[in-house]
Structures are given as C-alpha cells and as structure tokens.
C-alpha cells in the first residue's frame, strides 16, 4: 500500500498545504514533520511559481515571498530528501506544469521518487492533457493526483475512473482562498465519484474554519487546507510552527469528529 493510500486508510484525512520555501527553505523543512506530528495526514508542498493562475492572493503572495527568498525546484527536492529522514508522512508536490516541463517531465518525476515525494498535483493539466505527465509519473512510481470541480458534471465519471492516490475535489468556483461560505452542493459530486470508483475524495478550496472542515469531511474522505495555513505563515514568519501546529491539531480534530 502506498503512503498516500495509507493516509486515508483508517480515518478521515486532514491535508495541509504550504508553499515550499515560504518564508525560507529552513522554515518549511522544520514545519513539515511538526505538522505531521500535529495530525496532518498528508502534506502538499507548493512549488512556488511566477504566475499561479489557480491561486488567490494569499498563495500568490506566498509564491512571491518564496521565490524572492531563493526557493527553486532543486532546493525543494533536496529539502524533501532531508525531511524524509524524519517523517513518513505522505508528501505531494502541488506545481504548475511549466516548472515540471522545463525541468524535464521524466527527470522531474524521477527526482520526486528519489527524494520521497509520493505524488504530484498539477492544476493546469486537465484530464484531456494528462498524458503530458502521466507516463512519467507511472514510470517513476509516483501518483498523479486528479481534480474535479463544481463545473465537471458529466466529466466526473471519466476523471474518477482514471484517478490515482486520491481525488482532489475543488469545492468552489474561482481560485484558492478562504471563503466565508462554501455554497456548492458537494455531496452529489462525491456520490457521483463513488458510483464509479472507490478512490478517496478530499475536498479543498475555501476551507478555513473547524466548522467548515467538519462539514466537508462529513461528505468526503478528507479536507485540504492551504490559504488558512499560509496566512499564519505570512503572519508569524519563521516563528510560525507553534501557531500552525495548534491550527493543524484543531482542524484534524474537527475532521475526525465528522460523521458520514
């Protein structure tokens, strides 16, 4: 069983996102095992990109901070390799396709496998273009995580059937970022997935409060939180570990209290 599958094996999963290298590599490196210890079941590391078109302002700004501080794809690979000696938590890269393509897609996937990255999420590679990266991922033995969105409708069946690892279910239209309310009716989306596949479903985009996390986890297998964590990192900088881990504990408890 892969590390990603294990994350969903026993209970509902809490998935934490951080932008790699924000505010610097050392902070991210220290934070990952601590978030895992605080209850994060899977960690997404965002490779900062100059033009993150699916991100709201919070993660856009984190990308700017990380790039200014000198984060690069190679430095993040090296960081994960070091982190892997301290924790077994599943790690996936969240990256736009251009950093992967220019690195050399095969080489990128191979490096993921060598350094202990379990999978990748590439938000600007939809189902129709997945062959751009899927072959390299399969060859390297890492998972390419698929996404569905509120607009996917009849596309969901096809996407779910091919999904590996877990299915990233986008809760809302628009970009990443904290929302006061998630208005999409998510239950039918998840039901549609489950009718054709037993892939674990994790819901992301807009989740910030324990109440939202509990609600989302009640209709799926996990909840993904990015911007709310990145906001804490923006606020506390290098001293973010305490506040972030407190938050992770609270959110994990909320996710676990969710009943189906």
């Amino acid at each position: 069983m892969s590390r990603i599958e294990k994350a969903f094996e026993k209970e509902k999963a809490f998935i934490a996102f951080v932008t790699g290298g924000d505010p610097d590599i050392e902070t991210t490196e220290a934070l990952i095992p601590q978030m895992a210890a605080a209850g994060a079941d899977l960690i997404e590391i965002g490779i900062p990109f100059s033009d993150p078109i699916a991100e709201g302002i919070v993660i856009q700004e984190a990308d700017v901070r990380a790039l200014r501080a000198g984060a690069t794809t190679d430095k993040l690979f090296d960081m994960v390799r070091r982190v892997r000696q301290k924790t077994d938590v599943p790690i996936v890269f969240m990256t736009y396709v251009n950093p992967v393509y220019t690195y050399g897609t095969e080489r990128f996937a191979q490096r993921c496998a060598e350094c202990g990255v379990d999978g990748m999420i590439v938000p600007d590679v939809p189902f129709e273009e997945r062959e751009e990266v899927s072959g390299a991922c399969a060859a390297a033995g890492i998972e390419l995580i698929s996404m569905i969105a509120p607009t996917s409708r009849e596309r969901i069946d096809r996407i779910a059937r091919q999904a590996r690892g877990f299915l990233y279910c986008v809760s809302s239209l628009g970009v990443t970022g904290v929302r006061n309310q998630i208005t999409t009716n998510i239950r039918p989306m998840i039901r549609q997935v489950k009718a054709v596949s037993d892939i674990p479903c994790a819901i992301g985009f807009g989740i910030a409060t324990p109440g939202q996390a509990q609600e989302m986890a009640s209709c799926a297998d996990g909840a993904i939180v990015g911007s709310a964590i990145v906001k804490l990192i923006a606020r506390y900088g290098r001293d973010c570990a305490g506040p972030v881990c407190d938050y992770v504990r609270e959110m994990k408890a909320a996710v676990m209290s969710a009943t189906a």
Partner: protein, 398 residues
C-alpha cells in the same frame, strides 16, 4: 485508450492546459464556435458588423514616398489603423462578442496590454448591450491612461492588476482567475492567438480577413502576390491575421517582428522566438521567455501591446518549420520608425506596428524595385504620442 485531448495542436504546440474548473467553459466555447462557423446567419451578421461598423475592408495603401526614400522594394501598408477603434483588434472582438451573445452570455471580460483590445472589447460590448470588465496591468494603466478612460467612457469597468510584473501576462492571469469564478453568464474574450484551444484558432479565424484582403487588393493593384508580409508580434494576432492566407503561398516571406526592448542581449526585452524556450503556460504549449526552472521572465518593451513573455502556438510552429521568420526590433528602432512613418507618409502608427515598419526599412533597400513588401499597420499611434514624447525627453500630459 485514445486521448480525447491533444486538441488545437499546431505541430507539438497548443493544447488546453487549464484548470479543470475552466475546461467545461472552453468546451462550451468550442462547440458554440463550431456551430456559428457554419451558420450562414452568424456569418452574415458578422460581415455586416465588419463592413458597416468597423469599416472593412481596410485600405491597402501604396507608400510611394517611403518606397522612393528606401530605394528598394515597393511598400504597401495594410491600414488596420483605420478600423473603428483604431486597430485590428476590432475584427476579433466583433466576432467573439457576437459569439458570446449567441451563447446567451450577458457579460464579457478581457485582458489588455496597450489597451487596444480592451477598447475594442468595450466598444463591441457597448454596441451589443453586454456588461464588460477589462483587466489591465497597473504599469499599463499608467502608460496608457487615455485608453483606460476611453474604456470607461464606453461603459466598461477597468481593473488595474497589481500582481506580478503588473503588465499583460498578469492581466491574462487575472482574467483567467475571474473567468474561473464566473463563467455561467461570462465569456472571456481573449485578444490574441494564444491561450488554450479554441482561442488561438478562433482569434486567427476572425483575424484572417486581413490577409485575405491583402491578397485581393494586391492582386487588383499589381496582379501578383507580395514577396514579403511583415507584422509585429506580441501574442501574434495581427501577424497571424496577415500571414494565414499566405501560408500555402511559399514564395511569400512571412516576417514577424518581436519586441527586443533594450536589445536581445539585455534582460529588458520581450523577444520570445529569439530568446525563449518551449514551455507550457497560459493554457498552451509554446515558446516563452523563462528561466531554467520554468519561472516566467519579467519581460520589457516600450510597447505595452508587445510586452508579453510568450507567443501564440501557431507562430511557434511556423517558426519551428521555418515557414515564417521572426526578427527582433529594439525600442530605439521602433521609435525611429514611428517618427519616420509619421513624417514620410503622414501616418502615425501604433508603437507596436512601428516594430514592423522598422524591419521593413531595413529589408526594403536589399530587395529589387519589382518586389513588393506589405507591412501590416495594426493600429494607430495616437495612444502612444505621450510615451514617445517622454522617450524623447519631452514631458506632455495626456
């Protein structure tokens, strides 16, 4: 399993690299376009708009003084600057906004660099009774203040974009984000032959009227094809419009002029074919100015309309196959050509189009007097007068 993807490919370039949220929106657009393309009524309505509103066909003007002055090939200017709203952009937006209307959309959004596409979109939206919002880099709202106000006069809302380099690429990012948030009633009217399929195809189809007219008009005037067609290239819509008709006519040289800013060896340039490499960005596989890790480079040109780090995928393919050639033109050369055409022919070209004029000035003397160059004057230069004055050290406030 056969991939349903790989749509909209030009050689290995193109594709649909966008978030899942937007896929149904581009597919809806593609289906609507395929319906309208073959619909006689749609084509008739568009023809009426182009002829009675935009003022097509645009003139093909024999630049006799310029020809004499340069002492080589005969130079014709395709006068897209004479279109309503002052540039070729109107050709595409009349098509796309009409398409939006047929799709039942009530709101259009657009990115703009120099403001020409924004103004054209705002104009078409006013005409067809659509809501319109335009995203424009903060740097460009500053250097093209007049066009901003013009859009507002036309009833559009202009959003200055303060992320990233605050220029055209960031305006595209923000328009894509907005579209992903609201697509039920909204169509993204993209201004160039770029982005995810079907945009490069749709924009090219709406712009190919330029090359068609050039061919007809030149055959009428000279009884033959041109030896070269020259156009400026940012994303590449006016160039693709001018080139497309001539792609099968291999005797016609197709030359795209890229913005070299302060020079191709200076980091401050936007010469994508000269300096770029293959990447995947803004929905397409194409050529981009980027670093070794695929971070998109902050590019620069005096021309806001050419200040873009990529190029449309069909151009990338024409460059790769050698069917078209792409040459860098610096700010200095473009400003020189801007002034030259103003004084020589009494035509003030857009600073974008001046890049094409600059290369024609270099090329014409090396060609025979029986040969013909057509230069696409993609827009008029009124919008640039204040910036050119500043470039020459004269402060005027527009």
């Amino acid at each position: 399993m056969k991939m349903e993807g790989n749509k909209g490919r030009y050689g290995s370039y193109g594709g649909q690299y966008i978030p899942e949220t937007l896929m149904p929106a581009v597919q809806e657009l593609e289906e609507a376009y395929e319906r309208c393309k073959n619909d006689a009524q749609f084509q008739q309505e568009l023809k009426e708009l182009l002829e009675n509103y935009a003022g097509r066909p645009s003139l093909l003007y024999y630049a006799e003084k310029m020809t004499r002055d340069l002492g080589g090939a005969k130079i014709y200017l395709k006068r897209e600057d004479l279109n309503h709203t002052g540039s070729h952009k109107i050709n595409n937006v009349l098509g796309q906004v009409l398409l939006a209307k047929k799709m039942g959309k009530t709101r259009v959004i657009a990115e703009t660099g120099a403001g020409q596409h924004g103004v054209a979109t705002a104009t078409a939206a006013a005409l067809m009774g659509m809501e319109c919002e335009v995203f424009m880099g903060k740097e460009d709202t500053d250097r093209q203040a007049l066009n901003c106000y013009r859009m507002e006069l036309l009833g559009a809302k202009v959003h200055p974009v303060t992320s990233g380099t605050m220029t055209l690429k960031d305006a595209v990012n923000e328009t894509m984000r907005e579209w992903a948030a609201r697509m039920d009633d909204t169509l993204y009217v993209l201004g160039s032959v770029m982005g995810p399929h079907p945009f490069p195809m749709i924009v090219r189809d709406f712009q190919k009227v330029i090359g068609k007219e050039i061919k007809e008009q030149l055959l009428a005037a000279e009884g033959k094809l041109p030896d070269a067609v020259i156009a400026c290239v940012g994303g590449g819509s006016n160039a693709m419009g001018a080139f497309y008709e001539f792609i099968p006519d291999t005797s016609v040289r197709l030359i795209g002029c890229e913005a070299a800013g302060l020079g191709v060896d200076n980091p401050k340039n936007a010469a994508t074919v000269t300096n770029g490499s293959v990447g995947i960005f803004h929905g397409m596989k194409s050529l981009f100015c980027q670093d070794e890790y695929g971070q998109i480079a902050p590019v620069y040109s005096i021309s806001a309309g050419l200040d873009y780090p990529g190029i449309g995928p069909e151009h990338a393919n024409l460059a790769e196959t050698g069917r078209a050639q792409y040459v860098p033109v610096t700010d200095d050369e473009a400003v020189g050509a801007f002034e030259y055409l103003s004084r020589t022919e009494g035509i003030i070209p857009a600073i974008e189009s001046a890049h094409a004029v600059a290369y024609a000035k270099k090329l014409a003397p090396s060609m025979g007097k029986e040969q013909i160059i057509v230069v696409n004057i993609s827009g008029r230069g009124d919008k640039d007068v204040a910036a050119i004055a500043r470039y020459r050290g004269v402060e005027i406030f527009d």
